[in-house]
């Protein structure tokens, strides 16, 4: 079978047409198409079009509000709390981020939280939105399935609660961090299982605390947090800031979105935007970040290390590659998307011509 590559325009149009067929208003479907495609373009392929089939399943199960009344329910000069009315997370968090950018422009910093939101794709999607306004974006979210117990515990009460940060630069690629607070995201475990590979030590442990290497037995163990108890603490703090503070699900309230497609997830997220222009000259700031980036990249390297990467540099390169060559989709995913197209009676996704 030949490679199946699609352009961003093809992908956007396909996702939008699926979302429209599923009952979303056309402009919302378009927004979701753009944001999901952006995830694939930057190489966050666990959070892009691969999620279309589960999203569709949730919509068809009545688990998502197709015409949500997304509204501000609490507001002060530099903050807001948005009720997503159980709409698609992309719509909720795009609205939240735009509001945070607007508020940060006058206040210097702004923080907008969400409740009754849903999975919104990769964390960096929203942190990155601040960049084109020459601002810094910080994003926190409660993950949509608990795979992490408190340190020393067995009950999975915490999720991979991710953190993203995006820092504007002058000539260098922006510095963009996007990380789960666990050593591996759960999607990586599932990918190992699909490929029939073992996991490296340090990703998961079993209920005795021993290393768990077989990804097909992932139900018998837990993800490990980064830095042991430190990552447990980080996951908890992120969860309180993105969940509890917003009146969103946290701890045992979190719905496993891979198993339950109809219960309202009450997902919580938070976006903070900082305007560096409030601290001094914006060009100076961006130049100083460039200089720091070059200093780190130019550091002497350990034997066998070909290159020192900055956070976000690899996804920057993937974005450029994907713009030229399109996004490569796995055969199993293409098959699923074809089946979805047939089910929704829309035109199937077409591949780029070679």
């Amino acid at each position: 079978m030949s490679e199946f590559r699609v352009s961003s325009l093809q992908l956007e149009a396909f996702i939008a047409s699926a979302m429209t067929a599923l009952g979303l208003p056309e402009s919302d479907a378009k927004t979701i198409g753009e944001l999901m495609t952006e995830a694939d373009m930057q190489g966050s392929d666990g959070h892009g079009v691969i999620r279309l089939v589960p999203y569709a399943k949730r919509i068809l199960s009545g688990g998502l509000n197709l015409k949500p009344n997304i509204q501000i329910i609490q507001e002060r000069t530099a903050m807001a709390l948005i009720d997503g009315d159980n709409g698609m997370g992309h719509l909720v968090m795009k609205r939240a981020t735009e509001l945070a950018i607007h508020k940060a422009r006058s206040a210097g910093i702004a923080w907008v939280g969400s409740r009754l939101s849903n999975h919104a794709g990769p964390a960096s999607l929203y942190a990155r939105m601040a960049l084109k306004h020459d601002m810094i974006g910080l994003y926190f979210a409660v993950g949509n399935a608990n795979h992490l117990p408190p340190w020393g515990g067995l009950d999975m009460l915490l999720s991979t609660n991710p953190i993203a940060a995006a820092i504007p630069t002058l000539q260098e690629p922006p510095v963009v961090l996007d990380m789960a607070t666990t050593v591996a995201a759960y999607g990586k475990v599932k990918a190992k299982a699909q490929r029939g590979e073992m996991m490296p030590e340090g990703w998961m442990i079993d209920r005795q605390g021993k290393p768990l290497l077989d990804p097909t037995k992932s139900d018998e163990g837990f993800l490990l947090p980064i830095g042991g108890y430190k990552g447990y603490g980080l996951s908890l703090i992120v969860g309180i800031l993105a969940g509890t503070l917003n009146g969103a699900a946290m701890g045992s309230q979190v719905i496993d979105f891979n198993k339950d497609f109809s219960t309202t997830t009450n997902t919580g997220q938070a976006i903070a935007v900082i305007d560096p222009a409030a601290f001094g000259d914006i060009q100076d700031f961006k130049r100083n970040v460039d200089q720091l980036v070059r200093e780190l990249r130019g550091a002497q390297r350990m034997p066998g290390v070909e290159r020192i990467w900055l956070p976000g540099e690899q996804s920057h390169q993937k974005r450029m590659d994907h713009e030229k060559q399109g996004v490569l989709l796995a055969p199993s995913l293409v098959k699923q998307l074809h089946e979805l197209a047939s089910q929704l009676a829309i035109s199937p996704l077409t591949a780029l011509k070679h």
Copy 2:
């Protein structure tokens, strides 16, 4: 030799009298005495009175401004940038935190950065200040010595750049995270060397990337970041937010405060304060955090685990123990403090009577 224990009042008074003898105004000396003692009381003994001798050395070397003009140099509704004028970090960050709390009360969130500051003790000291106002505190700082290379590199361009977060509760101890972005803080390595112990694998690596276990050879290697490249990314982001954004030292500009006692460190820190009352009822929020804390603490435990700890719970317990029994000081530290007292012609620190 019998145990040398001191009460918080004894410790505060001794530090204040040392600082006054060193030339600081009396009220500033008192503030520093209180904050440094608070570090010991909460068990952050690497950041409390143990630092008095190095601080004195820096002051006597002309490396600190005794009568700084600490002032706001940039300000918007929800942010400020404070120039510490090379004063003691405790004075700068207390001022910054009070300002952030004040601003957060109306804006909902506030962020205050510092430049030309200095080492200010444990990160949680300032995050915790928000608690008595029923607010959330987040703190970020550039560490005062570089022990971390970029991932794959050999040049130590990054520090242990810590993060702290403090979350108010109703009846439970507050949730307080205080962590370096490296697996071990450098002070822990030095403590292992003093005790003649080996380090566990995972704390440090040598220049070939192999585990370094002998703490007396710490100059031949580097600290490891938590979660590998993730901790490198976190350390970098914290450094940009606390350093570069404020026009403070970052990367190769960082002065090693253990080796150079006279050059201005231009330390950068940042405090963010969030008012949960802006998001909804404050009692509800605190009750929900309590409930989450109890849920995590009550989780089923791994074999051999006696108790599940929440972040900040151990330091909460240490504070209560220290209030009853005083703080235990190591003989070597007591000797140093006695020598300092003699040098400054002040009354030596006295121990609690048994």
